[in-house]
Amino acid sequence: MISKILNINGQLIFSFILLFLVISMVLMTGNYVGGAKLFPQIVGVAVGFLIVVDITRQILISRKMKKTTTNEAETKTINIKLIIILCALPIYYFLIKFLGYLLASAVVVLVVPFLLGMRNIKLVLITSTIIWLLVYLLFSVLLNVPFPKGVFG
């Protein structure tokens, strides 16, 4: 039940973010002229209306649920793996800029499994090497993709 409430709250926050985005986009269309503003305005207003309906529905549901769970202690658990992976994505991007794609990818395939809890070093080394070699051979050698080379390039 608690997770359900948290989920609904998460949904509400996301819905409000979407509403903010849509309102901003509709307001921006004021600067456009002719046909360029027609579609964004129609779609924006329609989507904004639907989001408001959805938010109202979610609030009503969450109120009903809260009434039935007032005695339960609410605890929030932070998912460490979620934080790790959400941090890993931008870090990977900046590593590519700094070290270049191939070196950054080598770091990622070696480090991420450990961060996610894999402790079999032999397995990590073998699979990481295979994955890295595969990507290197296919993209860099075969397709000759000019990946960023970073500061060592």
Partner: protein, 499 residues
């Protein structure tokens, strides 16, 4: 018919069969790499064809084209990462089957459906190219607008019971598709002064993000392996035989693929999504879609490979490429000495025949190769997720970058990865977002151009016969969609009350 016989004679030599196999293998490998796709595959092969005999060029390019479309389904099924844009709809049920330990079966379904879709489309191309090409010429902006709306009418179905969220998702997709230069007036919209955004949000990085990167987050959180049972059940042949049982699905989806391919600018992704959702609408058990329904693999795979033949209809008969891939291929064909036009099928019959027969045999070649590769490839789903996560990250980022060699595309890919994950967590259907994103430019461009053509009169949408037929279809589809939805909601309510 005669030109096919002439082609048969040309293809069946050891050298030509070797290049056919080579082209198919290259196609499968390239197609399996996210972001590469058929257009880039053919573009990369073109320099190697200089100096080759014309028939070898045709065989190599034709087989690579067919192989690459199938190749994309392999990673779509195994890793939930569509290799090409046309395989995105395959992930919904293909990857679900892989999760159930039926990866081999899913690959069999995909290979057989792709092959049959491809064969049907090439036969249609062989016999009906000139009349179909003439029809596609009459397909103007008003019809494109209506066809886009027809595509949107399936949102209610794609959203299952999340009707409001489905339309919000589709609307967000439409809004995102409007980022960049306005297609008619050239005004910048929602670009915030960022030069990169003037070109709009690129399709491939968005797809890779929504599917592959969001999958990275989900796999990292879930741990274990993709296959919940930890083992891989069911073989390739079983899947292929299952696909053959869905004859109506195969035929319907192939026709959708051919028709969508014939109309320039509609694209393979629109065809595969439309085929998937049409199948869901036609099914007696639509609830099984998205949970590993075989038709959910058969429909998009038959459609996306049928687009190949369809897109070649205006390409060969009129010299108007039906897709970006067809445009690159047209270049290759012209280098090989094929001049497109109505007289192509009579004046250069042997060359056209060689190309068509090569493509027909390529369907069988990738089916056989798929069968050989299915067992070892299926093992991917029992690799621990902790090891797969960085692998998919590398592939996804490389795929997003490869399209335009742009790090900005990588940023788009990563952002849409997180957005995709949030959509999944908050139950906003991603499929609706993609529908809106794909159909947005078709609808807006069609509408604006039609209004320009008619000097501002909206009557153009009902005075042109094609547009009127599509308009009536749109109305019927919206009514059916809403009625079905209300009926299913009432049914759900009654079931809940009974409980």
């Amino acid at each position: 018919m005669e030109f096919l016989l002439l082609g048969l004679g040309n293809v069946f030599t050891i050298t030509n069969l070797f290049f056919l196999l080579l082209g198919t293998i290259i196609g499968i490998v390239m197609g399996a790499l996210p972001g590469v796709g058929p257009a880039l595959t053919i573009a990369l092969l073109l320099p190697f064809t200089f100096g080759m005999p014309p028939e070898v060029t045709l065989i190599l390019l034709g087989s690579a084209f067919s192989g690459s479309v199938f190749g994309g389904s392999i990673v779509a099924i195994l890793l939930n990462t569509p290799g090409t844009a046309g395989n995105a709809a395959t992930t919904f049920d293909g990857h679900e089957l892989a999760k159930q330990g039926k990866a081999g079966q899913a690959l069999g379904l995909a290979a057989a459906s792709s092959a049959i879709g491809g064969i049907i489309s090439i036969l249609v191309l062989s016999f009906f190219a000139p009349p179909l090409a003439r029809m596609s010429v009459h397909f103007g902006p008003a019809e494109q607008f209506m066809l886009g709306l027809l595509g949107l009418s399936v949102v209610a179905l794609a959203a299952d019971n999340n009707f409001i969220k489905g339309w919000i998702s589709a609307g967000m997709g439409l809004l995102v598709s409007m980022i960049g230069l306005d297609l008619i007036s050239g005004q910048e919209r929602f670009t915030f002064g960022i030069t990169y955004l003037t070109d709009g949000i690129s399709f491939i990085p968005t797809m890779v993000g929504l599917f592959a990167i969001s999958q990275v987050i989900i796999l990292a959180l879930s741990g274990g392996t993709i296959s919940s049972g930890g083992n891989v059940k069911g073989g390739f042949l079983k899947g292929a035989v299952t696909a053959l049982k869905y004859r109506i699905t195969l035929l319907r989806s192939s026709i959708i693929g051919v028709l969508f391919g014939t109309v320039p600018a509609l694209g393979v992704y629109a065809a595969s999504f439309f085929a998937y959702l049409t199948e869901k609408r036609a099914s007696k058990e639509p609830d099984k879609f998205g949970k590993g329904a075989p038709q959910g693999v058969v429909a998009p795979e038959a459609a996306n490979n049928a687009v190949v033949g369809g897109s070649l209809v205006p390409t060969l008969a009129l010299g108007i490429p039906g897709s970006s891939t067809a445009a690159v291929l047209l270049g290759g064909l012209m280098i090989a000495g094929i001049a497109p036009g109505y007289r192509l099928f009579t004046e250069q019959a042997d060359m056209v025949g060689t190309f068509f027969v090569a493509m027909l045999i390529a369907q069988l070649a990738f089916f056989i190769l798929g069968g050989l590769l299915a067992r070892p490839l299926s093992k991917i789903v029992v690799i621990p997720n902790e090891l797969l996560v960085p692998g998919i990250m590398l592939l996804g980022v490389a795929g997003a970058f490869t399209m335009r060699n742009s790090m900005a595309d990588v940023i788009v890919c990563l952002i849409f990865g997180v957005v995709g994950y949030l959509f999944i967590k908050t139950k906003y259907p991603i499929v609706c977002f993609i529908l809106g994103f794909i159909l947005g430019p078709i609808i807006e461009k069609g509408f604006q151009r039609a209004i320009l053509m008619s000097d501002g009169s909206y009557s153009i949408f009902v005075t042109r016969p094609g547009s009127l037929v599509l308009f009536l279809l749109v109305v019927v589809m919206f009514i059916i969609g809403t009625t079905n939805l209300l009926r299913s909601q009432r049914k759900n309510k009654n079931t809940t009350l009974d409980m």
